[in-house]
Amino acid sequence: MTPTATALFTAYFQVGISSFGGANAWARRMLVEKRGWLTDREFAERLGLGQVLPGPNAMNTAIIVGHGFCGVRGALAAVGGLFAGPLLILSALCLLYDRFGHLGVVRGALAGVASAAAGMMLGTAFKMIRGARPSAAMVVVGLAALGLALWRVPLPWIILALAPLGILAAWREAK
């Protein structure tokens, strides 16, 4: 099923305005669970490319997903949809924060959202791992990426070190 550029814009607009705590979890929910345009593995592959390319990875993923369905128009539609709503909402939040940011209630709400957002990312990661059905070698590469990142090794180094190993594992599995 191939969506039109308009459908991409609409879907990504919904992703944008609901994506508290980062867009990747919500993009997966929309593209895989709600619209069924991509499988879990296809989404994870596009997310992987989006992370290896420099720049915001939710945006890169949207460009790759959009371009895959509708070329440059699809990429622009996906990115436009993703950013349009949040830019307006963030402007409003900045205005409010300038006035009310010192209040304890506001800081408490921010703390609660931050904790829940972390759980949301974690749950989404588990779902993607389940959907990707990784082989033993892939699990090792994934755990290494997790460990190095938790150890605060800079991301470019992690990718330089582990991307070749992951690709090697994929190569061997394909044979």
Binding site: G16, N24, I63, F83, G112, V113, M138
Partner: protein, 178 residues
Amino acid sequence: MSDLLVLMAGLAQLSVIAVGGGSAVLGDMHRLIVDERGWMDDAGFARAYALAQASPGPNILVVGVFGWHIAGPLGLLGATLAMCAPSGLMALGFAGMRARLAGARWLRRVERGLVPVALGLVTASALLLGETALATWGSLPMVAIAITAATAGFVFLTKRSPLWMLAGGAALGMMLLG
């Protein structure tokens, strides 16, 4: 205005080296905004980050909050554009190349091989974000951990909207910390 141009030039440079996403260069942003230019102090920087987290949208929008602090609405737009446009054009170029190579076996394998790296990094960001959030809860770290764990389970086990959990977390935070 000149401050905004300095910020935009700095962000545009970071945009094309930010392999792994915006969070990979957050330290460099801190150096520019807090250490070199003194536009914000440490606490202000952390609060700007939390504000962007509380707003829907890609995490990179934190640069919009920095821009807003320096030059209002124009700063928000300018900073976001500076951070997104250079790498966005590169991604668009890559997407075009990928379309021409569609189905090439080596590309399929490269893409497949990047999946575990991507999943490991997403899991790590989630845990690191949870740790950052922990600090904002003061003497109630167990509540923060409970919210994070409950939300992770909710998202993993159901297809319901995570908004319910985010709203619940906000409500708990307002009651316990407000």
